[in-house]
């Protein structure tokens, strides 16, 4: 008999129903990982070849430790927060896994599975960037400034009830350094960053990091998360498949239950019942909604409509046209006070949009040409006209690092006369028939911008047209973004238009961008595959960076940072572009926020989770919309963290 299409369909449907049961059987027969873990505890070495795990008794704990508990820090939620309700939001695609590690884990869902909620040993206060207690209620720094001691909160437990003990942290290293999760980056980082872990008793551990740096506590030692051992019992070669749809019990406030998954449609997170930290300082006012409902909406234009209907509670208005056009202040929903618009100024390291000038190229190796270029780029006009005057001019590459940023450095403004002056110093005095400068050899002053952001091409066209006024010919080349990055890494660009996204860190890193060892090999050839896109090469800067990286003294580091920033500005390696000093959001009026809206380092209100849902207001608003009742129009700007 020839298979017909219906019969094939029936067969495949049958196969599909049978598949899960096969998988279940396979799992049940799996060996448990305990023996392997014990062997690892015995034999594991760090990068320096020393034993990694140490087991001591509480009597071995140094006695001169100064324990801290972050009690002096202020809470950042709101005492008015109402508990309960459902927060409605969207995800651009259905997640392909619930794992927080391994293939496909680094997608839109990751925030909800990991970053937003999971508590680690210690937290960091989003306003002061000082440590606050989380899973550890107390911590102390050892004499070597590399070992940190933690007293684990005895109340801490996972969402499945398993209490959190020292063992869970030891297991994390086994887990992360294993190859089963198929994520080599983590495997390497956990080996490179940590030198040792010591268990003193069930509630006391010490973590030794590889380098003594000011952020060693909150970025490395304190950023450790425990792993639920019971759940990971069957951890093995098939982890990626076997654990793909299992939600790992969490230390955080929200979990995903099996009933919360509607394949292809939505994911619902529910508040952990009797969450262990629900009455703890710093946490009692956060994570207020009972449920977080994430609808899958793939089309960005549909998200707008869904938000207009009130089916999702908030919508990001970071794009100028979204703020000014899609949800203009005159929009009826805004006008009548149903939807509130908020601009929140934050203080975070800004993505470094601008031109990275390759100083190893002919002409660009001339300082006068580079300074001329700075004056020839009209970013202010781009900001005014293309970005609706909403963004600000970026002044240096290391912006938003608080006192590590020298705010007295200002990017050079557009000035065709000054540009011409510097170009003249470099020998470009005559204008050709097309208005472009030439030197005595007849060489035209022309460079190519390699652009890695297709959507921003029109901004570059404006820069290009304006540069003609300074007698400079810029052509724009927009290859596919991976191809663009390849060219940057091979240092084959003239001007690279790109940005480095910098995570919230207490102090900037200079070595990657500005140290000459990332520009040239020892034999003088161009070094490829580094972030030094400008081929910066200044021996004095090198020396400062080396000292900065070794320094453990914050004042000295600050002085060095300012020196490096000033010199980078003087050398005109980087032409700063633009930065947005805020995030913007539109939200329905039943979504409530603390009085000062959000915290200093939030890039989005979903990073601090201090908001709450007022379900009564939701009903009242919906009724008001029917009856035509209006509320006060609210378009607000919170500028308490604005650096001017």
């Amino acid at each position: 008999m020839k298979p017909t299409i219906p019969s094939l369909l029936a067969l495949s449907a049958l196969a599909l129903t049978l598949l899960p049961s096969c998988e279940a059987k396979k799992e049940a027969s799996k060996n448990d990982v305990t023996a392997e873990v014990q062997a690892f505890y015995k034999d594991a070495k760090n990068d320096k070849g020393e034993p990694f795990y140490h087991f001591k008794t509480i009597a071995d704990l140094p006695t001169d430790l100064q324990w801290e508990d972050g009690a002096e820090q202020q809470e950042f939620g709101s005492p008015d927060a109402k508990k309960g309700g459902t927060f409605h939001h969207y995800i651009p695609d259905y997640p392909r896994t619930l794992r927080h590690i391994g293939p496909d884990a680094n997608e839109a869902m990751r925030g909800y599975v990991l970053d937003y909620f999971v508590l680690t040993l210690i937290g960091r206060h989003p306003n002061t960037l000082k440590p606050i207690p989380a899973l550890a209620k107390q911590w102390a720094c050892g004499a070597d400034k590399k070992t940190f001691y933690f007293r684990i909160d005895p109340d801490a437990r996972f969402s499945d009830g398993e209490p959190i003990r020292a063992e869970n942290f030891l297991f994390t290293f086994f887990f992360m350094r294993s190859s089963y999760h198929k994520d080599p980056w983590y495997q390497e980082q956990y080996k490179k960053r940590y030198d040792a872990v010591t268990k003193y008793d069930d509630l006391t551990i010490a973590v030794t990091v590889a380098e003594a740096k000011p952020d060693a506590l909150d970025h490395h030692a304190g950023a450790l998360a425990p792993t639920p051992i019971g759940f990971m019992k069957q951890f093995g070669e098939d982890y990626v498949q076997a654990y793909n749809w299992k939600f790992e019990p969490t230390t955080g406030a929200y979990e995903i239950k099996e009933s919360g998954l509607k394949k292809g449609q939505s994911v619902t997170l529910t508040h952990v019942k009797d969450w262990w930290a629900k009455d703890k300082k710093f946490y009692r006012q956060l994570f207020n909604p009972d449920r977080i409902q994430l609808e899958v909406i793939r089309d960005p234009n549909k998200v707008v409509e869904v938000f207009r209907n009130g089916e999702i509670d908030s919508f990001r208005l970071n794009l100028p046209e979204r703020w000014h056009k899609t949800f203009a202040d005159t929009d009826p929903l805004v006008e009548k006070g149903y939807i509130h618009k908020v601009t929140f100024f934050n203080q975070i390291p800004r993505p470094t949009y601008g031109f990275w000038v390759n100083s190893s190229r002919p002409l660009l190796n001339n300082l006068d040409v580079r300074v001329g270029l700075q004056f020839a780029c009209n970013w202010d006009l781009v900001i005014q006209q293309v970005f609706y005057g909403d963004y600000e001019r970026l002044n240096i590459a290391e912006e938003g690092f608080g006192e590590f940023t020298d705010t007295s450095i200002k990017a050079r403004p557009f000035d065709p006369n000054k540009a011409a002056e510097y170009f003249a110093k470099a020998g470009f005095t005559e204008r050709g028939a097309d208005g472009i400068l030439k030197n005595a050899q007849g060489q035209r002053l022309a460079f190519t911008i390699t652009n890695s952001y297709k959507p921003l091409e029109s901004a570059l066209v404006v820069v290009q047209q304006e540069a003609k006024k300074a007698g400079l010919d810029l052509s724009i080349d927009t290859p596919e973004s991976t191809a663009a990055w390849k060219r940057f890494n091979e240092k084959k660009h003239d001007l690279a238009f790109t940005a480095f996204n910098i995570s919230v860190e207490p102090y900037p890193r200079f070595w990657e961008d500005w140290h000459s060892s990332n520009a040239y090999n020892t034999d003088g050839s161009v070094k490829t595959d580094t972030n030094n896109f400008t081929q910066a090469n200044d021996k004095e800067v090198d020396a400062w960076i080396t000292r900065y990286d070794k320094s453990e003294d914050l004042t000295e580091m600050k002085d060095l940072a300012w020196k490096i920033e000033r010199r980078v500005h003087d050398n005109a390696w980087f032409i700063p572009g633009f930065a947005s000093p805020w995030y913007r959001v539109g939200h329905w009026r039943w979504l409530k926020f603390p009085a000062d809206f959000d915290t200093r380092t939030s890039r989005d209100f979903e990073e601090s989770w201090a908001f709450w849902i007022d379900e009564d207001e939701r009903k009242a608003t919906q009724e008001a919309m029917k009856s035509g009742k209006t509320f006060e129009k609210t378009v607000k700007s919170y500028e308490q963290w604005h650096v001017k």
Partner: protein, 354 residues
């Protein structure tokens, strides 16, 4: 003296009698001629300037800086502002701007207004501006010229390849024809647009603009000759079997003479009727590629690019409508011409079996 054959004149008259096609042809040629002199019609440079007893005709000459006209900058003088200034100062100097005083690249930025802005007669943005303040009409007009130049080079390439390959297959016959046809079948089944996209994205992109466009043209050409070759093969095949070819052959005519003197001229109807469709294909593909941003590099004026921008911002309908109307209109005109040509060359008109 050269004279058209009576047959050609007959076809020409027949073509003229087909009103729709003929008028489309007239409009198209007018547009083409206008676009060749686009700089005189749509340009930011003045047509003529009379300043301090000197005459300037800046359209096709090298640039004049602001300083030459007593302004305080070294870059190209803004003739529109200069005109306003002179009028305000009631200066004896004067200048004449083209009807559309914008070029395709200039950004007309204005304080507190954000582009795209709707049509504005006062500033002579007859079709409004795009999102970075460029005149839409200027971009459409220069885009037309680029499309036409592109179509001209593209058609030449396609015809060269198509004639050589098609003629060879039809004339040689035998295994050349057999294998040639299979090759054409396979070749014409390769998805052309994808191939161009792959080809363009593989280009080392620090190439000069000229080379990039040339390579784009080459890739497009080598994936577009198959249709013409197939038709030409049939036409050659048919002509070759005719008695006059046989008699020429017996009289001792060489193969080359046979092809160029006897066979090819008689396939003219195929060649001519195919032309409008080749041009349409060129316009269609170039703008599709521009739309997908695999075509001409920025900031070259292009309909596809304009269409792409317009579709993304439907709140500014003048952008998308201008691009859409331009494409539709030109393709429609060409297809009318093509239709009329086909009818004019239709041998049925002359057959005795009627």
């Amino acid at each position: 003296m050269f004279r058209f054959s009576p047959l050609t004149i007959k076809k020409w008259n027949r073509f003229r009698s087909l009103k729709r096609g003929w008028w489309s042809f007239v409009v198209l040629v007018t547009l083409l001629v206008m676009s060749l002199f686009a700089e005189l019609l749509v340009n930011k440079r003045a047509l003529m300037v009379s300043a301090n007893g000197h005459w300037y005709f800046p359209t096709y000459t090298s640039f004049h800086s602001g300083r030459e006209f007593g302004l305080d900058y070294d870059y190209e003088v803004n003739y529109r502002d200069l005109q306003t200034k002179w009028q305000k100062d009631s200066s004896p100097n004067w200048l004449l701007m083209p009807p559309i005083p914008w070029d395709a690249y200039e950004n007309d930025f204005r304080k507190d207004l954000n582009h795209p802005l709707p049509p504005d007669l006062e500033r002579r943005h007859l079709l409004g501006t795009d999102k970075i303040g460029r005149d839409v009409l200027a971009r459409v007009f220069y885009g037309f010229r680029i499309n036409m130049i592109f179509a001209f080079v593209f058609s030449t390439g396609v015809y060269l390849l198509g004639i050589i390959i098609g003629c060879t297959m039809g004339y040689a016959g035998g295994w050349v024809d057999l294998y040639g046809q299979r090759l054409v079948e396979i070749w014409s089944n390769i998805p052309f647009l994808y191939m161009v996209m792959i080809g363009v994205s593989l280009l080392p992109s620090n190439l000069l603009l000229f080379w990039r466009v040339l390579i784009l043209l080459t890739i497009m050409t080598i994936f577009s000759w198959a249709g013409l070759a197939a038709f030409l093969r049939t036409a050659t095949f048919r002509e070759k079997a005719r008695d006059y070819v046989a008699s020429a052959s017996i009289s001792g005519a060489s193969h080359l003479r046979l092809i160029f003197r006897h066979v090819l001229p008689n396939t003219l109807s195929t060649l001519v009727t195919f032309l409008p469709f080749t041009v349409m294909e060129s316009i269609g593909s170039l703008n599709a590629l521009d739309y997908l941003s695999f075509g001409l590099p920025q900031p070259t004026p292009s309909w596809g690019d304009l269409l792409h921008e317009g579709v993304g911002d439907l709140e500014a309908p003048w952008v998308v409508l201008s691009a859409f109307m331009a494409i539709t209109l030109v393709l429609l005109l060409i297809s009318f011409v093509g239709e009329a040509l086909r009818d004019a060359y239709d041998p049925k008109k002359f057959t005795t079996y009627r």
